[in-house]
């Protein structure tokens, strides 16, 4: 089941899609999208629930000497990349249902004056 494509979800997906191979941690996503972390974490949990996103702990040896706890990195799954591209494209497309855009009748092909 696809998650609800709110503007915030779209922003997060666009950020992750910018470099799909690179994992991003919550605070980083928050900074990149300009959204508060309180918005980011529920979105990441939803995306994880539908398997669009996977999260992994930072390797202990990737921050030697810093003496801080591990970060949690999020990255899109192959299915997530495909699905989020489709969903984002759909979100930006003029309303396709019934050939109408915001209530305005859309001319059938070949009927334009």
């Amino acid at each position: 089941m696809a998650p609800r494509m709110t503007l915030q979800t779209q922003l997060v997906l666009r950020t992750l899609l910018a470099e799909p191979s690179q994992g991003r941690y919550g605070l980083e996503i928050s900074e990149l999208t300009g959204l508060p972390t309180g918005t980011i974490y529920p979105i990441m949990a939803r995306l994880e629930a539908v398997r669009w996103v996977e999260s992994t702990w930072e390797q202990d040896d990737s921050h030697p000497g810093e003496g801080r706890p591990r970060r949690r990195y999020y990255h899109l799954t192959p299915d997530g990349i495909e699905q989020s591209r489709l969903s984002l494209a759909q979100a930006y497309r003029p309303a396709a249902s019934g050939g109408r855009l915001a209530g305005i009748p859309w001319p059938e092909p070949g009927t334009a004056q």
Partner: protein, 178 residues
């Protein structure tokens, strides 16, 4: 040893190692007992044995005896390998270790502000099996933020999203069970 029990043993070892690290983080190794013993007392009789086992492992690990103590842990408690009790004990000890570690790391790294306290308290809204994971994640984030004000802002922002996160996690868990 089957692949499943090996995986469980590895997971257990990793988690007990976590609790050892927590004990060393929050207290000097010589005081590691203080980090884990109170936890054992709060778990009731059924958990006492398990928590004490985790404590002993943590205590020894703090003294660089991790490998020996962790490998011998099931043996020390005379838990027959493969029995239901043994399985329950290992799982429970793993969960206990994980939670204790998460809270200790969070305490260690988060500012002792009202926001951090609230965040830790309200984390109880989250399902128990994932609570530790989120606390650890927040601890990891807070540790990289510079400045008390920024840390408090982060905690408050996260706090505001906590009900939404709880709702998402509970509904996902319910859907997974169906």
């Amino acid at each position: 040893m089957t692949a499943r029990s090996r995986a469980r043993a590895n997971d257990y070892r990793r988690r007990v190692d976590d609790i050892a690290r927590a004990a060393s983080l929050e207290f000097a190794p010589s005081a590691a007992r203080s980090a884990v013993a109170p936890y054992a007392l709060h778990q009731g009789k059924a958990w006492d044995l398990i928590a004490r086992a985790a404590y002993r492992a943590a205590y020894s690990a703090a003294y660089q005896e991790a490998a020996t103590s962790l490998l011998k842990l099931p043996d020390r408690d005379h838990l027959p390998d493969g029995s239901t009790w043994s399985t329950v004990a290992v799982d429970a000890a793993a969960a206990a270790a994980s939670r204790a570690y998460a809270v200790a790391v969070f305490r260690q790294n988060a500012q002792r502000s009202s926001a951090a306290w609230l965040l830790r308290s309200l984390a109880h809204l989250l399902p128990a099996d994932v609570r530790g994971r989120w606390l650890q994640e927040w601890a990891g984030e807070v540790a990289t933020i510079e400045g008390r004000r920024a840390k408090v802002r982060y905690a408050w922002q996260t706090l505001r999203g906590l009900p939404g996160l709880a709702w998402t996690l509970w509904t996902s868990a319910a859907e997974a069970q169906r």
